[in-house]
Symmetry: C2
Subunit: 408 residues, 2 copies
């Protein structure tokens, strides 16, 4: 089938590579592939923790997503020749004060109910396996199954693998149309009443027919023309600021994450000495300026978990808009004849990229999607009067087949 | 006279402009003019404060330097056409806790003895004139006479004014030689046992004769070949990290500086909404990496003085090596026949640039230098066996004339 993918972040690229790899003709549209939220992500692959507490569906989805990663990383490295920096040391979930410890104990119980190995450490045990963690932490829980990857290497690997699998990347934005997509004229924003650039006389000049369109536009979902309102408006930008530090390799070996007197933070180590400290979550629309407050809070919290961060070089502070949804669960599935959505992954784009690609491939090929994706019905926030058609997408989540039409 | 100036920071440029303006033929050598410590400075023109306490000579020098600034700024703006951003709102010297207040009370007394107007404010008065200052500060002292300038505009103005006055700028480093200077081959560091690039067969090819050489190499003084050891080794690099933030203009109108539970900090406002937060002082050699600790401390202290900084955009974090001396007093004066030093200005390069240019012009032309510069004898840390000659420089400070020789 001819497939158009709108969006070249970790989700769009994973979907495009997967579909091309299974024989489809894939074209991907993004004006700057890999430079959105995927460029800023830490690459932490941790299905549950301080910030997901109580979100059962999402925890289950994350666990299923994590399970795919070792194999996904192997295939991606083989297909691209790029080392994606997969780390298997696991993560330490830590709390600074008694209230943090109490919260983490609840997380510990939740993880146990989901069958995740979570081991409470004594202070002596923590000192032995991660001596750079702050002394006197009130709780530390070792999650041996957590992974991490180097986000930018994953993106580079996906670009290479997709290219080798035959994906054609168009460095432009595109909107949905009847029967495919249309390249958006430069400077034109969908929904703008006054286009910045005049549309061409005949919009069909920009039309690209496709059998299936996969909308993977992340935080830009609302800017994609032709989407049903209920879907487009389900995703909002959530600003995240994040820091990249550099020190001698080996300051810490595990991802250290947790609560600093109620405030969440994480520090993800890379093999080369890079440390990623993240991340804020701010409702600031599409404003992605780095602020004094964001950097100060990240440094304060990071130093509270790993004091040795102070000596590290501060290499970069950046901000990006992540695609948030009302329930923090992504939108994955068909929304009508020939249109599939894969968006709204918020803080879990890397964790959920393999399972999302799996699910989208299943929808496209008419196979059942992984059961854990059942909670991701893109239509769950309301019926949209402007939806393209009332097809399979209205079936209950988890039982859809979403057979795409064969030809326009 | 033919004059060579080594170093194109605020000191070298001010000297070069001044000398060219009074009729000398001036050539300036710097591989990247204006991009050293002058690029990072805040431009605060404040002759005394929390960090100068007890340094009487330096306070007197600073007061004399400040007095020259309004006229210097006028002449510089007229000569260059560049607005240097001179601000006359004054500064607020503030302390967060009782110990800070006690220290500032001593500074207040010191300033009084030097005849500087320093007015203790009540909390209500502070709130009225600077509502964005943190509530509940234990001491605030208004220093109406303090000024500030936009450091990068001053550098730009000096480059333009120097150029218009006929200064020739060579974008290369140079060393002292008998009778002038010699251009240093690219990649070659004076004093290195193994030059990175081979020296030319005949070093005289690089020779540039000069009647007077002014060494204004700042923190790079030690790298200038041909200097007496006692002078070269009197200057050490002191790392300073500094932040540039951006917010709506008018968050604060005064420079706010002082002590945060013993830790010094300042916030300098610009007319366009830029805020400069500085500065660390670290003994790190020539390492000028921006560190997590530096940025964290600056943000922490800045926010403690002006909470509204949190909302500001963090535009830049940079570090530079400043030229420190053992007594924090610069080196200004002749060190031998035809060689004059103007270096070691540490944190006061902008404040002291006009008076330094005045003093150097006096030495070159054989006139008496400003009396306040008497403490700046470049030889005060010891006689150097390798000095070029034993001329006027050995006279007691403050009584030198330093007549330069007329021709080589």
């Amino acid at each position: 089938m001819r497939i158009a993918v709108l969006g070249g972040g970790v989700i769009g690229l994973s979907v495009a590579w997967r579909l091309a790899d299974s024989g489809h003709r894939v074209e991907l549209y993004d004006d700057d592939p890999g430079q959105g939220a995927s460029h800023a992500g830490a690459g932490m692959l941790a299905p549950a923790g301080e910030s997901w507490f109580g979100e059962d569906d999402l925890t289950r989805l994350g666990i299923a997503g994590l399970r795919q990663w070792p194999d996904f990383a192997d295939r991606l490295e083989a297909a691209s020749g790029v080392d994606v920096g997969l780390r298997r040391e696991g993560s330490l979930l830590v709390g600074v004060d008694d209230a943090d410890a109490a919260t983490l104990d609840q997380v510990h119980d939740l993880l146990g109910r989901h069958g995740i190995e979570a081991e409470r450490l004594t202070q002596r045990e923590l000192r032995r396996i991660e001596p750079a963690a702050t002394p006197g932490l009130r709780r530390s829980i070792l999650l041996r199954g957590d992974l991490s990857v180097h986000n930018r290497r994953v993106v580079r690997a996906l670009l290479t693998a997709a290219d080798r699998a035959g994906v054609v990347v168009h460095r432009t934005r595109a909107d949905l149309t009847d029967g495919g997509v249309a390249i958006r004229p430069t400077g034109d924003r969908a929904g703008a009443t006054e286009p910045a650039a005049p549309r061409p006389a005949d919009p069909r000049l920009n039309a690209r027919p496709a059998d299936v369109v996969v909308v993977a536009a992340g935080a830009e979902l609302g800017a994609v023309g032709g989407l049903p309102d209920a879907v487009a408006s389900a995703v909002r930008p959530v600003k995240g600021q994040i820091l990249r530090l550099r020190t001698d390799p080996g300051l810490i070996e595990h991802t250290v994450r947790g609560l600093v007197r109620g405030d969440p933070a994480y520090v993800v180590p890379r093999a080369d000495g890079e440390l990623v400290v993240g991340a804020t979550s701010e409702e600031q629309g599409h404003d992605v300026r780095v602020t004094a407050d964001g950097v100060y809070e990240l440094l304060r919290r990071g130093i509270a978990l790993v004091p040795g961060l102070r000596e590290a070089e501060l290499v970069e502070a950046i901000a990006r808009a992540r695609p948030g949804t009302p329930d923090n669960v992504p939108l994955i599935g068909p929304i009508g004849d020939g249109v599939v959505v894969a968006a709204g992954h918020y803080r879990a784009g890397f964790l959920l990229a393999p399972i999302t690609a799996d699910a989208i491939a299943a929808y496209v090929d008419g196979r059942p999607a992984p059961e854990a994706v059942g909670c991701c019905d893109p239509d769950r926030f309301g019926f949209a009067p402007s939806r393209l058609m009332s097809g399979a997408a209205n079936q209950p989540a988890g039982r859809k087949t979403g057979k795409a039409r064969e030809a326009p």
